[in-house]
C-alpha cells in the first residue's frame, strides 16, 4: 500500500496470534435457495435421476450472423438469385466449399469454413435453415404487411432479438431463458446440486437464467478463487474468517444480499470446480484464440463430469462482433474461420473423450442480415441459418426449408428480410427433448411450442437429432 514496504510477504507472520474468528453462524441464503428449489421440484421428485450424461453447448453469434453468406445455394438459378440480390456482398461461386445435403440440392459453404465442410461430409454436422423468432406462423409478405399475425416485439432490434433467441418467448420481454427453465426441471436429476448445471464461458446471460437456477460463470482458464482464501498463515486466516462473516451475514437490503450471495457462492463453487478440473486432461490441440480456448475449457469440464457429479449440463459461449453493417466480406471471413476451426477442434475433443454422442452443439444469433447491401455491409433482418454439431446429430443435411433468395418473393418483407419458416420453438424443442425433457414438460420451458408442434406427436419437431 505504501512505498515503504517491499512486498506483502514481509508481513506474513507479523499478525498477533489471537484466536481466529470462528466460521460465521449465519447460514446464508444459499441454503434457503436450495430449499426453495427442492420445493419447486418436489412434484417431479418421482423422476429417476439420470445415470447417463448429456450436454448442450450453445454458441451465441452475437450481433446477427449474415448466415446467407455462410450457407449459399449453388444450383444455377438459385445462385443467380443470390448473386443478383446480394450484389456487391455476394461471394463468388467458385470460391464456395461444395456440400451435397442428403435430402438433395447443392450448396456451398463460406470459403473460410473447411472444418465445417468436413464435419458436414462426415455427418457430424447439419444446418437448420431460415429459423427465427415467431409468436405464430406468418405465411407471407401480404399477411405481414396486413398485420394478420402477432409479431415478435422489437423485430430487427438487437436487444430484443438476442433476448428472444434465448427465451423463445418473443411476445414479451423476459430475462428467463429456456436453458434456465430447462435446468429448473433437470437440475434435480444431477447427482450433485452444488454447482449449477448451467455453465457459462461468457458471464451472465439470459439463456441460462431460470426461475431458480442461474449460470455458473467461468473463464477459458477455468474458475477463479479468492487469493489466499483458507490458507494457513495468520493473515489469511483472519482475512478468510472476515470474508466469510461479511458475505454470509444476512442483509436487510436485497441488493447487498444479492452481492454477497454471488460472491460467496462463487468462492464455494470455485473450490469444488477447480479441484475437479485440475485432475483431467484433454489432449486435442485448440487454437490460441478466445473462442477455441473457451471450447477447450468446456471440453475439460465435460471430462470432469463424474467428479462434478453431473448428468445433465448446458454450456454457453458468446462469440461477438457479427454486426456487419460495414466491411462484411472481410470481417465475416475471419470470424467464420475462427468458428469453423473451433467447431472442428471441439468435435475432435468430444471424440477423444468418447462423449461425441452425448454432447450436441448448436448456434443461435440475433437474426440474419438483409440480403441486399447497404454499400459495404448488410443490415438487421429476421430468419437465418444455424449450425448443429455432434455424434447424435443426423448430419450431412439441411433441415427446415432453405428459402428462395429472390427479392420480392413471398417471404421477403423488403430488402431481403425473410420471414422465418421454422420457429425457434421447434429448433429448441428438438434439443430439449434430446437432452431428456419429457414431451409433456415442453410447454414449461417453451410456452409457445403448442403453436408449432404437438408435444404428443410421435415425430420429432424437426428431425436433426436421433
Amino acid at each position: 500500500m505504501s512505498a515503504k514496504k517491499i512486498s506483502r510477504r514481509t508481513f506474513l507472520g507479523k499478525a498477533s496470534c489471537a484466536a481466529v474468528g470462528s466460521v460465521s453462524l449465519f447460514t446464508g441464503l444459499l441454503n434457503l435457495k436450495a430449499t426453495a428449489m427442492l420445493a419447486a421440484n418436489s412434484h417431479r421428485m418421482h423422476l429417476r435421476p439420470h445415470n447417463d450424461y448429456k450436454a448442450l453447448v450453445c454458441i451465441l453469434l452475437a450481433g446477427g450472423n449474415d448466415s446467407y453468406n455462410m450457407l449459399v445455394p449453388t444450383e444455377a438459378q438459385a445462385y443467380q438469385h443470390y448473386r443478383t440480390t446480394r450484389s456487391n456482398q455476394a461471394l463468388e461461386a467458385n470460391a464456395l466449399l461444395p456440400i451435397n445435403p442428403l435430402s438433395g440440392g447443392t450448396f456451398g459453404l463460406h470459403p473460410s469454413m473447411p472444418e465445417v465442410q468436413q464435419l458436414f461430409q462426415q455427418k457430424n454436422l447439419a444446418f437448420v435453415s431460415n429459423v427465427g423468432t415467431l409468436v405464430e406462423r406468418v405465411n407471407n409478405r401480404i399477411d405481414y404487411e396486413n398485420k394478420v399475425n402477432r409479431l415478435p416485439l422489437g423485430l430487427f432490434s438487437h436487444a430484443d432479438q438476442i433476448q428472444q433467441w434465448q427465451t423463445s418467448v418473443p411476445q414479451s420481454r423476459s430475462a428467463v431463458g429456456w436453458g434456465g427453465k430447462l435446468a429448473d426441471l433437470l437440475h434435480a436429476s444431477n447427482a450433485s446440486q452444488d454447482i449449477s448445471m448451467n455453465i457459462s464461458l461468457s458471464g451472465n446471460n439470459v439463456f441460462q437464467s431460470g426461475n431458480q437456477v442461474v449460470e455458473y460463470a467461468i473463464s477459458p482458464e477455468g474458475s477463479t478463487g479468492i487469493y489466499g482464501y483458507g490458507e494457513e498463515d495468520p493473515i489469511n486466516q483472519i482475512k478468510t474468517a472476515a470474508i466469510n462473516n461479511l458475505l454470509e451475514q444476512q442483509y436487510q437490503d436485497i441488493f447487498k444480499q444479492t452481492y454477497a450471495d454471488i460472491s460467496i457462492q462463487a468462492q464455494k463453487n470455485h473450490e469444488q470446480f477447480s479441484s475437479a478440473i485440475d485432475t483431467v486432461t484433454v489432449n486435442t490441440i485448440f487454437s490460441p484464440n478466445y473462442i477455441s480456448q473457451s471450447l477447450q475449457m468446456i471440453a475439460r469440464t465435460i471430462a470432469a463430469r463424474n467428479l462434478l457429479g453431473v448428468n445433465r449440463q448446458t454450456f454457453f459461449l458468446t462469440f461477438g462482433g457479427w454486426d456487419h453493417h460495414d466491411e462484411l466480406l472481410n470481417t465475416q471471413a475471419g470470424m467464420l474461420s475462427v468458428l469453423s476451426k473451433g467447431l472442428g477442434e471441439f468435435n475432435a475433443a468430444m471424440q477423444e473423450l468418447a462423449v461425441d454422442q452425448e454432447v450436441t452443439t448448436f448456434t443461435i444469433s440475433d437474426f440474419a442480415r438483409t440480403l441486399t447491401s447497404n454499400g459495404n455491409g448488410t443490415d438487421h433482418a429476421w430468419g437465418g441459418n444455424t449450425l448443429v454439431m455432434g455424434g447424435a446429430v443426423n448430419g450431412g443435411d439441411i433441415y427446415g426449408t432453405y428459402p428462395s433468395l429472390e427479392l420480392r418473393q413471398n417471404l421477403d418483407v423488403g430488402d431481403g428480410v425473410l420471414i422465418p419458416t421454422t420457429s425457434t420453438d421447434e429448433y429448441f424443442a428438438e434439443l430439449a427433448l434430446w437432452l431428456g425433457v419429457a414431451p409433456s414438460d415442453l410447454p414449461l420451458i417453451l410456452p409457445n411450442i403448442g403453436t408449432f408442434y404437438s408435444p404428443s406427436s410421435t415425430s420429432p419437431p424437426i428431425g436433426f437429432l436421433s
Binding site: A3, A15, N374, N376
Partner: protein
C-alpha cells in the same frame, strides 16, 4: 446552505446543530436525550459514531457528504468531504457548473509533449551548431511527433489522469455516465488504434454533458468515431439498380438508445398504453428507413496530418484510418439521399434542402420528442443515484429537462442538479433496505473512488498519471469506452436472478457481476491494498549484479511511482476504532452496518503491525456489501 443534520431529540423535535461548535454530541458523557438516526441498517450502532473526535452529528454529516460525492463525482478525499460539509451541496453543484471543462484531450496533448521532449532530449539537441541542415532535421523530427501514435491505451491513461485530477468532477462524472449511453467502444480494431478518435469523442461528452442536450446529440451524430462505430460514415444514398439501401444502423440506435427508446413514455417514465393495454412503439421499421436516408452522405474531413496536396484531401468513401479523427464528418451532397423524408410524428423534411439541414431537422425532431426527458432522466438517475427510481422522481427530473425554469429545454446541467438534489437522492433516513434507493457500484467507479479517497498522488517531478487500467479491465470487464457493444456493459433493464428479479426490480450493474468477476474484483482489491501502488507498474532491472544494487535501483524506482497517501490513516491506525470510523466515512459513506463494522473490527484488532492492519481494514471494506451497494 448547509446540508441538514439528522439529529433528533427523543421528543421528535428537529434540532439543528452546528457541526463546528460541538455543543452537544454523543460521547464524553453527552448521552442524554439524544437519538441518532442512522442511514445504516440496524439500530444499536450509535456508539462507534461518536469515537474519533467527531460528534455523532458531524460523523453523520460527513458520511452523508461522502455519499453525495460518491454520486456526483469520482469520489472525494477527506479534505473535499470536509469542504463540502462547510459549503453545502447546492453551492458545490453551482461551483461545479461554473467551471471550465477539463478535456481529456489536454492530458493526451501533454503526453505527446512529454514524448516529444524525451525524444528531443535523446536525439534532438546533441549538437548546438547553427547548421541549417541540422535544423531541418530537427523540424522533421518534430513533425514526426505531431503524428505521435496514440491508441486506446493512451486514451485510457489520459482518461484516468483527468478523472483523478480534474476539479470539474461533476462534469467528468456525468461525461462517464453519458459514455454509457451514447456508446462507442475501442473493441473494433480501427477505434482501438485511434486514441485521438476516442479522446475527441469522449470530450464531446465532457463539453456538453452539462450543456444542452441538442448540442450533445448533434455533435455525437457527426463525430467520425461514432460514424465509424455505427457505420453512418461513408453511408451512400440508395441505388435500387444494385439493391443497395441506406445503412440503418445509426438511424435505429440514435432513437432506441440515445434519445427516445422503444416505447412512448409518460413523463414519469412509464409506458403509454393503447386501448388494448399494449405499449405503443415510438417508431416502426418504416421510420428507421426514413431516418436511414437522413444519415447518408457523411464522410470524413481531411486529416490534420495531410499535406495541401490535392491528392491528400479527403473524399467520400475514404476509410476511417485516413480521415480526420477530430473534425466532425462533412456532408458530401452527391452521396446524400435526395427527395423528401418523413420524421417522427408526421414531420416532413422537404426535398431539395442540404444534407446537413436534413440532419439538423432530424436531430430537432428527436430533441423535441416528449420521450427524451423521462428517457434521459432514468438513465442519469440510474447511473448516479439508484437502479430503480420511482415514477415521481423521474417525473420531477423530466420536468426540468422540459424546462429548466428559464424556458430552456434540454439543459443538462439543470437536469443533473435536479437528479442530485431530489429528495429521493438526498433523503438520508430509511435508505437501507429501501428498494428504490440502491444500486451496485460500477467496478471502475470503485477503483476511482479508492484512488481518490486514499489520495493516490504523483511523486515530485511527475506530471501525469499513466494508468491504462488493463488489469481492472481484465478483472471486471470495465474500462472507459470499452463496452462489448453499443448496448453498454449492462442493460438498464437487467434483472439479476433471485431476490431482485422476484420483485421485478432492475439491477443493471449485476449484469457484469458474476462468479468470475465477483472474485476477480476481490483479488483486485487485494492488489490495490497490498502492493506498492494500486497502479499496474512493472519494474525490470537489467544487468544487476548484487542485491544491494537491485535494492538501490528499486528504491530509486519507487520514488517515481504514484502511491497512496496513507499517513493520515496511519496516524489513526493504532486505535482500531478510530481507523474504522474514518474509513467508514471516507469510503462507506457512514453506512457500514453494525455487524460488518464488528467483523472488520474483530479482524483488524488481531493485527498489530499497523500498515497491515490498515491494509486489512481497507480490503475488507472495499469488498463488503455495505461499500459496494450505494444506498
Amino acid at each position: 446552505m448547509r446540508p441538514p443534520l439528522f439529529i433528533l431529540l427523543l421528543l421528535g423535535l428537529p434540532l439543528a446543530l452546528s457541526a463546528q461548535q460541538y455543543t452537544d454530541y454523543l460521547g464524553n458523557g453527552h448521552t442524554q436525550g439524544i437519538a441518532v438516526r442512522s442511514s445504516s441498517t440496524t439500530a444499536a450502532q450509535n456508539a462507534y459514531q461518536t469515537i474519533n473526535g467527531f460528534p455523532a452529528s458531524e460523523a453523520y454529516l460527513l458520511g452523508d457528504v461522502s455519499r453525495f460525492l460518491s454520486q456526483a463525482s469520482f469520489g472525494g478525499d477527506w479534505a473535499e468531504i470536509e469542504r463540502v460539509s462547510q459549503i453545502g451541496y447546492e453551492a458545490w453543484i453551482e461551483e461545479q457548473l461554473g467551471m471550465e471543462p477539463t478535456l481529456v484531450g489536454q492530458a493526451l496533448a501533454g503526453f505527446k509533449r512529454e514524448a516529444e521532449e524525451a525524444f528531443l532530449a535523446q536525439f534532438g539537441d546533441e549538437d548546438e551548431e547553427d547548421d541549417e541542415v541540422e535544423e531541418e532535421e530537427e523540424e522533421e523530427e518534430e513533425e514526426e511527433f505531431e503524428e505521435f501514435f496514440v491508441n486506446f491505451q493512451q486514451f485510457r491513461e489520459a482518461w484516468f489522469h483527468t478523472a483523478m485530477m480534474a476539479p470539474d468532477q461533476l462534469r467528468q462524472r456525468v461525461a462517464f455516465a453519458l459514455s454509457e449511453m451514447m456508446v462507442i467502444s475501442d473493441v473494433p480494431d480501427d477505434l482501438e488504434d485511434s486514441g485521438d478518435g476516442l479522446t475527441n469523442y469522449y470530450d464531446i461528452l465532457v463539453r456538453h454533458g452539462l450543456g444542452n442536450y441538442r448540442d450533445l446529440l448533434l455533435e455525437v451524430t457527426l463525430h467520425p468515431s461514432m460514424g465509424y462505430y455505427l457505420s453512418h460514415l461513408n453511408n451512400p444514398r440508395s441505388d435500387t439498380s444494385q439493391n443497395i439501401h441506406p445503412d440503418e444502423n445509426y438511424a435505429r440506435e440514435v432513437m432506441q438508445l440515445f434519445s427516445i427508446g422503444l416505447y412512448e413514455l409518460n413523463q414519469d417514465g412509464s409506458h403509454k398504453l393503447d386501448s388494448l393495454g399494449v405499449p405503443i412503439p415510438t417508431y416502426s421499421n418504416a421510420d428507421i428507413k426514413e431516418f436511414a436516408k437522413i444519415f447518408t452522405g457523411l464522410g470524413g474531413a481531411t486529416s490534420p496530418e495531410a499535406t495541401d496536396d490535392p491528392e491528400d484531401q479527403a473524399f467520400f468513401g475514404l476509410d476511417f484510418y485516413s480521415i480526420s479523427h477530430i473534425d466532425p464528418m462533412i456532408m458530401y451532397e452527391d452521396e446524400h439521399e435526395p427527395g423528401p423524408k418523413y420524421l417522427l410524428n408526421g414531420q416532413l423534411v422537404p426535398a431539395g434542402q442540404s444534407g446537413r439541414k436534413d440532419i439538423e431537422d432530424a436531430i430537432d425532431n428527436l430533441y423535441n420528442h416528449p420521450n427524451v426527458g423521462p428517457f434521459m432522466a432514468r438513465h442519469l438517475i440510474q447511473r448516479l443515484v439508484t437502479s430503480n427510481p420511482t415514477p415521481d422522481y423521474i417525473q420531477r427530473v423530466a420536468s426540468v429537462f422540459a424546462n429548466n425554469g428559464r424556458g430552456e429545454r434540454g439543459d443538462m446541467g439543470a437536469v443533473v442538479k435536479a437528479v442530485l438534489m431530489d429528495e429521493a437522492a438526498r433523503a438520508c433516513n430509511d435508505r437501507e433496505g429501501n428498494l428504490f434507493r440502491a444500486s451496485l457500484r460500477e467496478p471502475i467507479l470503485r477503483y476511482l473512488h479508492f484512488c481518490r479517497a486514499l489520495e493516490l498522488s504523483l511523486p515530485e517531478g511527475e506530471v501525469y498519471f499513466r494508468n491504462p487500467m488493463n488489469r481492472l479491465d481484465e478483472a471486471t470487464g470495465q474500462a472507459p469506452l470499452s463496452a462489448s457493444s453499443v448496448f453498454n456493459f449492462f442493460l438498464p433493464d437487467y434483472q439479476p436472478n433471485g431476490l431482485i428479479a422476484d420483485l421485478d426490480l432492475f439491477g443493471p450493474e449485476f449484469q457484469i457481476h458474476n462468479s468470475t468477476t465477483a472474485i476477480q474484483y476481490i483479488n483486485e482489491v487485494e492488489f490495490w491494498t497490498t502492493e506498492v501502488s494500486p497502479m499496474e507498474i512493472e519494474l525490470e532491472f537489467e544487468d544487476v549484479e548484487t542485491e544491494e544494487e537491485e535494492e538501490a535501483l528499486y528504491q530509486a524506482a519507487l520514488s517515481r511511482i504514484p502511491v497512496l497517501q496513507i499517513d493520515p490513516l496511519m496516524l489513526l491506525a493504532s486505535q482500531a476504532t478510530d481507523l474504522l470510523d474514518r474509513l467508514n466515512i471516507l469510503l462507506v459513506r457512514g453506512q457500514l452496518s453494525a455487524a460488518s463494522y464488528q467483523t472488520i473490527l474483530d479482524a483488524i484488532q488481531q493485527i498489530d503491525e499497523l500498515e497491515t492492519r490498515l491494509e486489512m481494514a481497507v480490503f475488507l471494506i472495499m469488498i463488503s456489501p455495505d461499500y459496494n451497494i450505494l444506498n
